[in-house]
Each structure stands twice: as structure tokens, then as C-alpha cells.
């Protein structure tokens, strides 16, 4: 983190309120995101306990597994989750725009579809993102009865497909700057500095206490209550944002309720006549309602907090280049849509060496793009780069026309530029500015005696001898130059190779994919 960010944290300590780290919103926010707040059972690898899911703050759907050790109940949960997630995802699959692009195999221009918008998944915390990956991994290799009539524990029909989408979203979340799957804590931490450390910033309740306190209570005190405050029954006032639950909740409330549910189920099985069966069923419903009540008591505060976070972020204007990155996300979504439609098998357990290397390279490139775009969109981010000597802002004090010495001379005007910044320049260093959203290049020639910088403008001035109008800065103009390149590519972005189905020139895939996981009678998921 930069010194500027450290300073912001210290100002937050002093004022008791979070301080801005950005002046625009650097992530895309869908008008209708799907918020998912999952809970898991302690000690089990991905045995879900429940979830709240939905596209509006007031209408969450509650999913609960009253006995997480029961495979049937877990499958029922996953089927319900698929019922929520898949129609939402499908809702974005059909509205498309035609885009021309080069076929990577033949080099010919082809027309392809690009989805106009993409579904966006929001979870409360980073652990939630990992959990989405885990759910994806645990379900995409499941076999349904239709796929394999002999499978010992068939999964409900749409569950493997849910797994593929969750896997895709989990994987995409690793690409810097992507917005298909976001964590509320990450969103807040990108835009505000609190008076605590980045470790404590992973606690959604504490984070909001700094950024958006209910009254004027100092952030540190409100955050402390969110972290440790307990009621008379020893329960946290602000339950953890999951997917793990608080052990005190598990031990004091949840475990007895699940035991009661188990007993009620046994009673239903043991009932011998209609009357006792009716009574037992009623008791079972009561027991299930109690588990649901407990689970929702842990989910609801996080649900509300996640929407509160989204509301705070919506107040920030979107950065100018956010749409560019979202277009890449749309490509990613469209590509996976096509892969599913083309009947490709689920994503492999492990990437082969080539794919892994390609992904790594793509992520590095995305990081560089993100860093550059954020700096260009946001003076506060640019300030950090200026402090690091990677950018400089100032004023044009003189423009001297000059040309190349070729037979057809091209314009190469010299700018005398005054700045208080200390860029790390050497003669010949290229610098860039944004000219109507496209980068224009100059090179550093030499410093003047009074410290002003002489720059030679190199491109974007047209083909004529005289530079095209508006392409050369005027005396007195203020300009931000960067030493890092801006993204050169414009127009529709290409999807990453791994997002391209083999029918469109993507990597070939074996038709049968991988074997499903071994299942044993006692498995948890």
C-alpha cells in the first residue's frame, strides 16, 4: 500500500471515520445483482447450512439445510439454489449484440454474439468467494440420473450446471478488475480507508462501522462492538459474514435445534397410527422452523450489510474506464454460455500447464490494465502514481513547433512543461497522456535550467505537415502525463482463449471430460 493510503488510514484514526481512497467507483455494479450470503457447517468441507439469495434487498429467498449431514437435504438445498441462480443467469443469455472479430483459427472475419449485459454475483466477503468456488467444485462433477442411471446418489437435474457456472464465476474473480463475482468487503476496501488494519477490514460489520456508522459514534468503538459485542445469551450482536458461523452459535443454539429436528424425524418414522403421525409431522415442522429461524438470524444482518455496502458504492460515480473492463466480463460470460451450449464437459479439476500459464499471463496483463485505468479515471489514484514518480501533472508553459527531418516532414512539436512532481525520467523516456480517451505519446528530451521539462510530442497529430486541430496542447493547458502505457486496444475486446469454446477456435477438449468424484455413503457433499 502506498504512503497516501497509510496517511488516509491515519486520518481515519484521527477523525474516527473512514476516509476516501478513491473519488470514483472502480468496479461495475449491476442494476440487478444477485446477492448470495452462504453459511456452511463447521468442520465440513462445503456442507452448506443455509443461504439467503436474491436480487433485491427486500426479497431474499431463504434456503436452509436443517440437518447438514443428510445428503438428500443437501441436494435439495443445491437444487433450490440452482433454481435461484440459473434463471437469473439465463436471463442474460439471450439479449446480444453482433460483433465482428477475427477467427483465431482461420484469421477470417466472423460475426459473433456478445451478450449485452451479464449476471453479477455479490457475496459478503472474500471467504464467500472461496465458498462459491468450493460449491462449484463440489457440484460440477456430480452425475444426474439422466446422465448416468446407475449413479448411486444422483444429483438433482440442474445441480451440475450450477456447479459449472459457480466455477466460472469463482475463476473469473481471480482476474484483477473483473466484476462478475465481487465481495462486499473488497468493494468497500477498494474505496475507503479505515482506521484499522487490512486484516480487521475483512470483517464486514467492522468495516461498515467505520464507513457508515449509524450515528456519530467513533469508528473504532462501533467496530469493536461489531467484532466482539455479545447479547445476554452470549451471541454475537453482529454475526460473522460467513460462510463460517460463530462457535458459540453452533454450540448453544444450532446444535440443540438440529438434535431436536433429528428426534422429530425419528418420531415421524416411528409413528404407528395416523394420529401420532400427524402429531409427529407437526412437531417436525416446528423443529424445522426453529432451525430456519436460527439460520436466518445469522444470515439476515449480513444480507442487510451487503446491500448497505452496495448502496454506499452506488453513491460514487462510475469511473470512465469501468465499462471497458465490464465489456471483458461480458465476453467472459458469453464465452462460457457458448461452451455450455456447445456441450463441453465441466471445467477440469486442474488446468493443464498451457492453460495455467495462459491464465497467469492474462491476469498479469489485467492487473497492469487495471492499475493504469484506475489512475486515469481517478485523480486520487493518480496521486499515488505521482508520488511514486510514475506520473506527473503540471502546465504547458511553451509550445515550439518542430518537424522531423524526413523528406515529408511530420510534426514533432516541443512542449515546455512545468511540474512540481518528481517523475523518474531520463532522456528518451516515453510518456503518455489521454487525448479524448486515446493515448498520445511524447518523449522526454531534457530538463531546462529552471527545472521545467522539455517533451517532444510523437503521435496522433494526423498525416499533414501541420498537426490536426486540437492534437497539440496549448500554452497554459494542464496535463497529466504517465510513464506507464495506457491500454491501446479500443473497440470490442476479445475474450480470453480459455473462454472461447472449441467451436469458435478455443482450445480443444476431450468430449467426455473427467470422471465424477468417488462417493461414499457417509460423504458430506
Amino acid at each position: 500500500m502506498s504512503l497516501i493510503a497509510h496517511l488516509a488510514r491515519m486520518e481515519a484514526v484521527e477523525s474516527g471515520r473512514a476516509q476516501p481512497l478513491a473519488t470514483v467507483r472502480h468496479r461495475h455494479l449491476s442494476e440487478r445483482p444477485l446477492v448470495l450470503v452462504p453459511l456452511t457447517t463447521a468442520g465440513e468441507a462445503g456442507a452448506p447450512l443455509g443461504a439467503l439469495v436474491g436480487t433485491g434487498p427486500d426479497e431474499p429467498r431463504l434456503l436452509v439445510v436443517p440437518q447438514p449431514r443428510d445428503r438428500e437435504l443437501r441436494f435439495a438445498f443445491l437444487a433450490e439454489l440452482a433454481e435461484e441462480v440459473l434463471p437469473y443467469v439465463d436471463g442474460y443469455a439471450d439479449a446480444v449484440e453482433p460483433v465482428e472479430r477475427k477467427d483465431p483459427a482461420t484469421g477470417e472475419k466472423v460475426q459473433v454474439e456478445l451478450c449485452l449485459d451479464a449476471p453479477q454475483l455479490i457475496v459478503p466477503s472474500r471467504a464467500g468467494i472461496e465458498y462459491v468456488r468450493l460449491l462449484g467444485r463440489s457440484t460440477r462433477f456430480r452425475r444426474t440420473a439422466e446422465q448416468d442411471p446407475d449413479t448411486p446418489y444422483p444429483a438433482p437435474p440442474r445441480v451440475p450446471l450450477l456447479g459449472r457456472w459457480l466455477t466460472h464465476y469463482g475463476e473469473r474473480a481471480r482476474v484483477p478488475g473483473s466484476s462478475l463475482l465481487l465481495a462486499a468487503t473488497d468493494l468497500l476496501n477498494r474505496h475507503w480507508a479505515t482506521g484499522q488494519s487490512s486484516l480487521e477490514d475483512q470483517h464486514l460489520g467492522a468495516l461498515l462501522a467505520w464507513i457508515d456508522p449509524y450515528d456519530d459514534e467513533p469508528g473504532a468503538e462501533a467496530a469493536y462492538r461489531a467484532e466482539l459485542g455479545r447479547d445476554s445469551r452470549g451471541q454475537l450482536l453482529c454475526p460473522p459474514a460467513g460462510p463460517a458461523t460463530d462457535p458459540a452459535f453452533d454450540n448453544r443454539l444450532l446444535a440443540p435445534a438440529i438434535e431436536a429436528y433429528d428426534r422429530a424425524r425419528q418420531a415421524v418414522g416411528a409413528a404407528e397410527d395416523g394420529e401420532t403421525a400427524d402429531a409427529a409431522l407437526a412437531a417436525l415442522h416446528r423443529a424445522e422452523r426453529e432451525v430456519r429461524r436460527l439460520v436466518v438470524s445469522q444470515l439476515k444482518p449480513t444480507w442487510d450489510a451487503t446491500w448497505r455496502a452496495l448502496g454506499l458504492l452506488r453513491e460514487l460515480p462510475e469511473g470512465a474506464r469501468v465499462a471497458d473492463r465490464w465489456t471483458r466480463d461480458r465476453w467472459s460470460f458469453t464465452g462460457h454460455r457458448d461452451k455450455v451450449a456447445a456441450g463441453e464437459p465441466p471445467q477440469p479439476r486442474r488446468d493443464d500447464a498451457v492453460t495455467a500459464a495462459a491464465k497467469l499471463a492474462a491476469r498479469e496483463q489485467a492487473q497492469g490494465r487495471l492499475d493504469a485505468q484506475e489512475a486515469l479515471d481517478d485523480p486520487l489514484v493518480l496521486a499515488g502514481r505521482r508520488l511514486a514518480g510514475e506520473a506527473f501533472t503540471g502546465e504547458v508553459v511553451e509550445v515550439t513547433p518542430a518537424w522531423t527531418e524526413a523528406r515529408r516532414p511530420a510534426p514533432r512539436p516541443l512542449l515546455t512543461f512545468r511540474t512540481d512532481d518528481r517523475p523518474r525520467l531520463e532522456p528518451g523516456t516515453k510518456v503518455y497522456r489521454s487525448l479524448d480517451g486515446r493515448p498520445q505519446t511524447a518523449e522526454f528530451v531534457a530538463p531546462e535550467e529552471d527545472g521545467a521539462l522539455v517533451l517532444r510530442l510523437l503521435d496522433k497529430m494526423g498525416r499533414a505537415k501541420e498537426p490536426a486541430e486540437g492534437t497539440v496542447p496549448e500554452k497554459g493547458e494542464r496535463i497529466a502525463w504517465t510513464l506507464f502505457e495506457h491500454d491501446q486496444r479500443t473497440g470490442p475486446k476479445l475474450p480470453a482463449p480459455e473462454d472461447t469454446p472449441w467451436t469458435h477456435g478455443g482450445p480443444p477438449r476431450s468430449a467426455d471430460g473427467e470422471l465424477p468424484d468417488a462417493v461414499t455413503p457417509e460423504d458430506l457433499l
Partner: protein, 385 residues
């Protein structure tokens, strides 16, 4: 242990044990008992606690409290900032049933994970005895017999001892396997999954640190056992993917062993820390008031960093104190680095605003530039709205 008992084979240096005389040991023990409170039994340190010491090696407060066997959890509660640590019974039940499964079939299942398909007879000696001393002696005997016998032996929950700060600490690994060549291997059974061959790196790291403590304790026994050698690779057993089928991988703990070793050596200096404290000072959680305890804790220097919150029972207490003092370290270890001699939030902000500090100091100059650039950007953005 004395060198004469060593069997002469080359071994890593053993320096935990204080060289001092029995008399000075007794004095240290007495002093530590006084610090803990005469009626308070020492809180036994387990491998997890010992391993956690490595998380903050520079903290004298923790070293002293652990060395004296003070119950830090109880202390934290008395100080008004109870540690938020706890374990869910679901996790405990799951962990126990998985461990039972791993050790089923007279140890043959576990040896299969070792890659030994046909171990012949596996001996699983009875290790129960009365009291911890009895059990450690029984364990040492079983290890000696197993090494001499030259077959496969599984020690289920052996009890080992490590001398920490002048008093013995008992440690109970999940299992130790002795192979026909006399090599002893620590087995750690965990219930987090190994997914597609890899487990969560942070969890593996924690398990490795814990196992390193067992390795150190085993080495003490091995040093007096003919033909024995302690493996520095430990067998980590986890459920495979989403099943409860066990799978295993060997984790090299040499680095963790070295770190913990160094850390335990520093712990033996608790008598120095104790010596610097005023007479009569005590952390007696039963007898002393919260104010007295707080003052006693304050008398020992701490080294708070945000990582403490997950590793030490006193985390929230120390954080409160560090915040009151305005320490920049509360914002993260990395924050300290760029600030030179400025260690408090107040000093940093004053320097940044030009109210204090030497402008020639590069840290001060950088802060002023950072603040000016930040203000400029915020003003510019506000003007654009």
C-alpha cells in the same frame, strides 16, 4: 539432557534446555509460580500454543505469560476483552470421527497412507498409564521397543515432553509411526479437505508449525534411544475432496522446526523478563482485581501487530492499549516501514501537516508530499462534482 546420554550420532543442536543448575531452575520455577499466583495451577501449553509463539516472536509479554503458565484466556476475560476463540462442536465431532476412521483396522489403514501396502504385523502398543509422567515414560519405552524390534509400530496418542522455560510441557500428537529402519514420523490428522491434491495453504502451514513442535519433543527421546531417527517430513492426513476417505501427503517441517526451536530458546529467557519486573507483581487471575491485572500486564512490554488478533488471547486487549498509545503498528506491520522514526499516528499526521518534524528527514518530506498530493486530488475531484 546431558551430553553423556547422547548416543553420539550427529544431531541438531539441542539448546532448549537451560544449562543452569538445579538451584537456579528451582528459583525460576518459584518466580514463575509467583507470577501466576500460588493457588493457580499452570496452564499447560499445547503444541498449538507453542506453535503460535512463532507468530509473534518478539513479544516479551506473551513469552512471559506463556512461560509462567498463565491462562491468557482467563486473563483476557478479566481484562474485559475476552478472546473470541472457540471451537464448534460440529467440527470436534467431525474431527474425532475422521481420526477414528484413519486409525481403523489396527493401524493398517494409516500405513496404507504411508504407501505401505503390506506392512506385515503392525504393533499398536498400549500407552495408557497413570499421570502424565507415567504416560511419557510409557511412550519412551514403547518407542525404544519399537525401534529395537525393527517392524512397523503405530503409537496412538503418545505423550511427549518438552521443557519450556524451566517446566515440562506435555504434548500429545495424533500418532507417531515407527518404521522398520527406526525412523519416527509424526502423523497429523486434520479434518480440512485436500481438494484435488492440495489443501488450504494457511491451514497446512498451521499444521506444519504444530507438527514441528512434536518433532522437537520426539528428538529429545530419540537422542537417548539407540538407532532412532526423527523424520523431518510429517504425514498430514486429510479427507479427500468432499468425502471422508483419508488421503495423505508428506509435509517438510524443517523450516518450522528451526523457527520454533529458535523461539523456544528465546522463551528460556523468561527469567530475564521476570527479573526486570517489580517485586510482588503477579498475574494471579483469582486474587487480583482487574485494575491490578491490567497494571501488571502493562509492566511487560508487548509487540502488538494485527496478526495477534488471530493468534493470541490478549489480542484485543493489547490492540486497545496500542491504539490508545497511537501506535502506527496497529494499522499493520508494513505501515511501520515507510515512516522512519515516526511511530505514532499523531506524530505522523503532525509531520505530514508541517506542524512538526524535520523537513530534511526523507520520511517527513515524503509524508508532506503525500499529503499535498492527496489534498490536491480530493479538491480536484470535489470541484468536478
Amino acid at each position: 539432557m546431558s551430553a553423556s546420554l547422547d548416543d553420539g550420532r550427529s544431531r541438531p543442536a539441542q539448546t532448549t534446555d537451560p544449562v543452569p543448575t538445579p538451584a537456579s531452575r528451582r528459583r525460576t520455577r518459584e518466580r514463575l509460580a509467583e507470577l501466576r499466583g500460588p493457588s493457580v495451577p499452570p496452564r499447560p501449553l499445547d503444541a498449538r500454543a507453542l506453535a503460535a509463539l512463532a507468530a509473534n516472536p518478539g513479544c516479551r509479554r506473551r513469552a512471559l505469560l506463556d512461560g509462567a503458565g498463565v491462562d491468557k484466556g482467563a486473563l483476557a476475560s478479566r481484562l474485559g476483552s475476552p478472546a473470541p476463540f472457540g471451537q464448534s462442536q460440529f467440527a470436534i465431532v467431525r474431527g474425532n470421527s475422521f481420526e477414528a476412521k484413519v486409525k481403523a483396522d489396527g493401524g493398517r489403514e494409516l500405513l496404507r497412507l504411508f504407501g505401505v501396502e503390506d506392512p506385515g504385523t503392525v504393533s499398536v502398543p498400549e500407552l495408557s498409564a497413570s499421570g502424565p509422567e507415567g504416560r511419557t515414560a510409557r511412550t519412551a519405552l514403547a518407542l525404544r521397543e519399537a525401534t529395537a524390534a525393527g517392524g512397523w509400530t503405530l503409537l496412538d496418542h503418545p505423550l511427549l515432553t518438552l521443557e519450556v522455560a524451566g517446566s515440562p510441557v506435555h504434548l500429545e500428537p495424533d500418532a507417531v509411526v515407527v518404521d522398520p529402519a527406526g525412523r519416527w514420523t509424526v502423523v497429523e490428522i486434520k479434518s480440512f479437505p485436500m481438494l484435488d491434491g492440495a489443501a488450504d495453504a494457511a491451514k497446512v502451514g498451521a499444521a506444519a508449525r504444530q507438527a514441528a513442535v512434536y518433532v522437537l519433543a520426539l528428538e529429545r527421546v530419540a537422542a537417548v534411544t539407540e538407532g532412532a531417527e526423527v523424520g523431518h517430513g510429517v504425514l498430514l492426513v486429510c479427507p479427500k475432496d468432499f468425502s471422508n476417505l483419508p488421503t495423505a501427503s508428506v509435509v517438510d517441517v524443517r523450516r518450522q522446526r528451526a523457527v520454533t526451536r529458535r523461539q523456544l530458546d528465546r522463551l528460556t529467557r523468561v527469567e530475564e523478563i521476570a527479573g526486570a519486573l517489580p517485586e510482588g507483581l503477579t498475574f494471579d487471575v483469582r486474587e487480583r482485581s482487574a485494575e491490578e491485572l491490567s497494571a501488571a500486564v502493562e509492566a511487560v512490554p508487548h509487540a502488538y501487530a494485527p496478526e495477534c488478533l488471530a493468534a493470541c488471547e490478549l489480542g484485543f486487549h493489547c490492540r486497545g492499549r496500542a491504539r490508545e498509545a497511537g501506535e502506527v503498528q496497529t494499522l499493520g506491520r508494513s505501515v511501520r516501514g515507510e515512516l522512519g522514526a515516526l511511530t505514532t499516528v499523531g506524530a505522523v499526521l503532525a509531520a505530514a501537516r508541517g506542524e512538526a518534524g524535520d523537513p530534511e528527514d526523507p520520511a517527513v518530506a515524503a509524508l508532506r508530499r503525500a499529503r499535498a498530493l492527496r489534498q490536491e486530488a480530493l479538491t480536484e475531484a470535489a470541484a468536478c462534482r
